[in-house]
Symmetry: C2
């Protein structure tokens, strides 16, 4: 009986592989895309991190971290982040921002309607996932990897759970040693080789869709774990806002390529086997964190 | 007969797994290391890239790219790089330096004893590798991955070839569409998620051992492929020198952890299963590009 269940689980997880009778480059795939291959970012599900150097656009992932996402939105609504800082940049690892004293009740910035901490959301049931586009090439860390609504993810059919994958540009809620001590008062983004050992150890809640370079090119902190040595080295946060809370004409109008379409499958294939003239030996395989998730200005 | 050969190939490739009866953190492994677990960087095999912000130390990999390494040393000897620039920083991909006009004979900086181009060294025979420490957890891109004298590498026992892996901090010789058009007049370093699809497509010839942050935290270029828009945005190279060509007291004295020792096997195990209190679920696996290769000041 367990054998049957296992078979069934793997059966519905079978990857979609594009039927590319005529191999195309990614650019050719994108040029041939239809308007319906793209989805507009939902203003109720997008937050802007505004730094002096510009705006970072983050898409939230309520399908994986509903409570943590709700709390980040509550923190943003009460302008918790405004006037706080980017306080940690660790090379080949993470950039972190928010309240540097979040774990010290005596010094921490007070919350109002938002919660100080939220229970961990390290994984969720496979059942009820809004979509699943599997990749065909395996993974070092998980039995299966793929995409759920524009987010790199992994799942274990035997355990029946899925989780977001710590790829470049994924955003999570920092925490202390207690699994339930996160909640969003400190947020981090991956800026180096995917630290996949963090999967299922910390709550991921979104992905940077635009402006990654503003967070990846910052000076690295000289202290342990990349914390800046002096408070003056911290980078001020002008504001963090829900897109829906800004007037329509102040929003960043972006579309993200849908990951549950034949166009996306063709894009994956174009990256598994690069057809650009420069490439001499197409890899024939791809790591989940090397698949681009294109965004463009709304058409 | 082919079956026997295949078995034999995989047999000698069997990974070393540390016998850790008492699990340790990486810090504990390093604290218990012996002087013989470390090797001093060879001044004849180390180059310094000097920027206004500081010095980048690169260990060369002649075991994989003897001709390209020799040419980089020849270029360095004739001070080819001095006064040139970092001209390309593409987010989540590469930082590139050298002669931005290397592919234009009319504008390219002249070489003297060095060669303008050197034939590709994308792979080498497995036979004769100076060492091989296999990792046990598989890989998306290659049949087998591991380490050769402090460099992340991959190999295919059936084809009998090995190659360096495009992990973070690996340095390669940029080239044009012709496979043999590299040689070192433009060099690049990986600054994001490992672009392993470049493996066996371009010649890797070394690894940044110290100073990665000087190359990873630079402003990203606004042009296609991360090239800087204006020449004035390029970052000047003060000098690039072979360590051996500097007086003893001006060299950076570094030791790198040997990768062919029980101590390194214990380090890998400490990272496959993180024992720090913070971790709730040790991954039990590791990607070749997530294994740290520690360096320290010479003792």
């Amino acid at each position: 009986m367990p054998f049957v269940i296992l078979l069934a689980a793997w059966a519905f997880a079978w990857p979609i592989v594009a039927d590319e009778s005529k191999p195309r480059t990614m650019q050719q795939v994108l040029e041939a895309s239809k308007p319906s291959d793209w989805r507009a970012l939902d203003p109720m599900n997008s937050v802007y991190l505004d730094l002096d150097a510009g705006r970072v656009v983050i898409e939230l992932a309520p399908a994986f971290a509903p409570k943590n996402v709700a709390n980040v939105k509550a923190l943003v609504a009460e302008r918790f982040f405004d006037g706080l800082w980017v306080m940690r940049v660790q090379d080949n690892y993470v950039t972190q921002w928010g309240d540097p004293d979040s774990d010290d009740p005596a010094k921490a910035k007070a919350v109002k309607a938002a919660k100080a901490t939220v229970a961990a959301e390290f994984e969720r049931p496979v059942a009820g996932l809004p979509s699943w586009t599997a990749l065909p090439d395996g993974d070092v860390y998980a039995p299966e990897v793929g995409f759920v609504d524009g987010m790199p993810a992994a799942r274990d059919p035997r355990e029946g759970v899925a989780w977001l994958a710590h790829c470049y540009a994924m955003v999570g809620a920092g925490r202390g040693n207690d699994a339930d001590s996160g909640g969003g008062r400190e947020l981090y983004v991956n800026i180096g080789h995917a630290p996949r050992h963090l999967d299922r150890n910390v709550t991921l809640l979104g992905r940077v869709v635009q402006g990654m370079d503003l967070l990846s090119s910052l000076p690295r902190g000289a202290m342990a774990m990349g914390y800046y040595e002096k408070p003056g080295q911290r980078l001020p946060i002008r504001a963090m806002r829900l897109a829906a809370d800004l007037p329509e004409n102040e929003r960043v109008k972006l579309e993200v390529l849908r990951t549950d379409t034949p166009t996306f499958a063709a894009l994956v294939e174009s990256r598994r086997n690069r057809r650009d003239e420069w490439f001499k030996r197409p890899a024939g395989r791809i790591d989940v964190c090397n698949v681009p998730i294109p965004a463009r200005k709304a058409q």
